[in-house]
């Protein structure tokens, strides 16, 4: 048996259900992840992402539905599944007291590599994840990015068929996040299938070739990043005016070339609308605004962000933690989901 049942899917979930008391953490959740890809599982806090990963990685029993990982049923053959997966949780699940090397050697022995092989594998992974210099220092002294890379290395000890990354960059600074992204890309080049949960739209966009959007325990969309963006509409022309009083005129000008109703963001002094003939539309809008004497701060074409997608699909925004780029999310009028 090759993994994935030979059907090309490394992970399949059908109608997964999980209840915690009255709350339905998963409510008929479906997922299909192709072998050798990065699949993004995108949703806000509490949407069910972590519960889905915990079920698929055999940590939690499912209440209903069926799931296979690497072609094996997670409920009936958990031990065999465990020999084929790696898991990196929201917390860096490595031992803080041990050194990086001691961690990897311990996990290697617990993966039943035997002592000699565990040592060799640890050295190999430390090198691959650029941790050789810090190998013999206690993990407590590591930076967030180093710790997360060690966590990834620990998940890779058996070169697993499927790697679950549960919010791998939450709480990391941009540089560390970049390091983790590079590591993930390298893993996929090596053939690993990755299921990545994230509430960072940018992260799913950058890494995943396919994205499942989850909200209230259900998959509400499953598409490529571009496909998802197209559900919102294609490119948008966007104008930032200098003076609030000019917003109605900008709306009027953009409406002449737009495919749909322009949206105005009063606080951001921004007006934007979907367009098909992007270059002509942009030139036309620029010229007309100039002719009419409207002072323009910025004008350009914008691909819709996944944030737009989320708003469109769910009627509510994602709520990213911490300080994120809010340039596109300030007080845009919230329209109901189509």
């Amino acid at each position: 048996m090759s993994e994935g049942n030979g059907d090309g899917y490394a992970v399949r979930a059908e109608g997964l259900e999980k209840r915690y008391g009255e709350k339905r953490a998963l409510d008929g959740f479906d997922l299909a992840v192709r072998e050798g890809t990065v699949h993004g599982l995108l949703g806000p806090n509490g949407a069910g992402k972590t519960t889905a990963v915990r079920i698929l990685s055999t940590l939690v029993r499912l209440d209903g539905g069926r799931a296979t990982v690497a072609g094996l049923d997670v409920a009936r053959r958990p031990r065999e599944v465990r020999a084929r997966i790696g898991l990196t949780g929201q917390y860096a699940a490595v031992d803080e007291v041990l050194t990086g090397r001691q961690n990897l050697e311990m996990f290697g022995r617990l993966f039943h590599l035997g002592g000699r092989r565990a040592r060799l594998r640890a050295t190999e992974l430390l090198d691959r994840f650029d941790l050789t210099d810090a190998a013999d220092k206690g993990v407590g002294t590591y930076s967030g990015g180093m710790r997360r890379r060690l966590d990834l290395a620990a998940s890779m000890i058996l070169a697993p068929a499927v790697l679950f990354l549960d919010e791998p960059t939450t709480g990391l600074d941009p540089r560390s996040r970049g390091e983790v992204w590079d590591s993930v890309r390298a893993l996929v080049t090596g053939g690993t299938t990755v299921l990545l949960t994230t509430q960072y739209l940018e992260e799913a966009d950058r890494l995943a070739s396919r994205i499942t959007v989850i909200d209230q325990g259900r998959a509400i969309a499953d598409d490529t990043p571009d496909g998802l963006k197209n559900t919102v509409g294609g490119d948008r022309v966007e104008v930032v005016v200098a003076d609030r009083a000019d917003i109605p005129r900008a709306v009027e000008v953009i409406a002449r070339v737009a495919d749909g109703e322009p949206e105005a963001d009063e606080a951001g002094l921004r007006v934007h609308a979907p367009v098909t003939d992007r270059v002509n539309a942009l030139t036309e809008v620029a010229r007309t605004l100039q002719d009419e004497g409207v002072a323009v701060e910025d004008i350009g074409l914008r691909r819709p962000s996944l944030d737009d997608v989320f708003l469109r699909l769910t009627g509510h925004r994602t709520e990213p933690p911490g300080v994120r780029d809010t340039s596109t999310s300030a007080s845009q009028p919230k329209e109901a989901a189509a």
Binding site: M1, S2, E3, E35, G36, S57, T58, L59, V60, R61, R77, R79, E80, R82, A83, R84, I85, L87, G89, Q90, Y91, A92, A93, V94, D95, E96, V97, L98, Q102, M106, F107, R109, L110, F111, H112, L113, G114, R117, L120, R121, E124, R128, G138, A154, M156, L158, A159, A161, G190, G191, T192, T193
Partner: protein, 300 residues
């Protein structure tokens, strides 16, 4: 893709790997060959897993030896304070030396407080996600708990040895011989039973800080026992409670075995040796299933 498709024999077709030893063929990665892992029995791997968890626990102490000092700090301080400051003012029924009375009590108390260490280490591992990582691996899940227990017993041996050496330096002179070894065994037997309370509490409390608060509960429990003061010197009702405290039986039994027995008139005091054996069985019967249930609930 081709590197990921494993020339793996299906687990159904190969019963030896269908038991889930996690040692069947894997795809290679890099220069290290991971396809030819040893196939061994499930029992072998269970013992190996326990051994590796123990090794981890002991490495913690090697990297942070100060932790042993912290764990011993309170009992040693108690020996000094009660032995030297109050020693001459404290009575022992039958007129023995108070330090001879106190030392076995201190040993029992050190074992008793051990459950706080177990709970603290367990709550650290469960809240930091280390236990989840172990559970997501093809190792035996029970090895996580068993390894914790074996580690804590080994550490308890070291603690007892250090405590006894301190006591000897301070002039404590127990009977040597089989009685001494039996006392050592009874103390470890008590510690064994308390592992399960520690694991259970460690999985029950929400964070490491809460585990530290267990000391506030444990301290009065050690006071209301025969550890510091003989129960017959307490008010009647309190003396009765103290005598039935499991710690009292271990303390009284070891006093007997060390050659400095303290007579008591109640049934429980006259059967200290028996009860020092029985109490840990009772505690284990109650708390081992609770700990196991709590551990299983992690999958809920």
């Amino acid at each position: 893709m081709s590197t990921r498709v494993r020339p793996d024999v299906s687990p159904e077709a190969r019963p030896s790997t269908a038991t889930g030893t996690g040692s069947d063929a894997r795809s290679g990665s890099g220069p290290l060959d991971l396809t030819d892992l040893p196939v061994r029995s499930r029992t072998y791997w269970l013992l190996a897993d326990v051994g590796n968890i123990v090794r981890r626990g002991l490495t913690h102490y090697r990297r942070q030896p100060v932790n042993i000092a912290w764990q011993l700090g309170f009992p040693i301080l108690s020996v000094l304070l009660y032995g030297h400051v109050f020693g001459s003012a404290m009575q022992v029924p039958g007129g023995g030396d108070y330090r001879d009375f106190l030392m076995p009590g201190m040993f029992a108390m050190t074992m008793a407080f051990g459950f706080i260490n177990t709970a603290t280490l367990v709550v650290h591992d469960s809240t930091k996600g280390v236990i989840d990582r172990f559970r997501s691996m093809p190792m035996a899940p029970s090895a996580v708990v068993a390894g914790r227990g074996v580690t804590d017993l080994l550490v308890a041996c070291a603690e007892l040895a250090i405590m006894m050496l301190t006591a000897l330096v301070m002039g404590w002179r127990p009977d040597a011989g089989p009685g001494f070894l039996a006392a050592f065994g009874l103390l470890l037997w008590l510690r064994f039973a308390l592992i399960w309370i520690g694991v259970w509490l460690g999985l029950l409390v929400p964070n490491p800080e809460a585990a530290g608060g267990l000391f506030v509960v444990a301290f009065p429990l050690t006071m209301i026992s025969s550890i510091y003061v003989a129960p017959q010197l307490m008010p009647d009702w309190l003396g009765w409670v103290a005598a039935w405290n499991p710690l009292s039986s271990t303390a009284a039994a070891t006093r007997e075995l060390f050659g400095t027995p303290v007579a008591g008139d109640s049934w429980i005091e006259r059967h200290a040796l028996l009860m020092a054996g029985v109490w840990p069985v009772v505690l284990t019967l109650v708390f081992l299933p609770l700990a196991v249930r709590r551990f299983r609930r992690l999958s809920r």
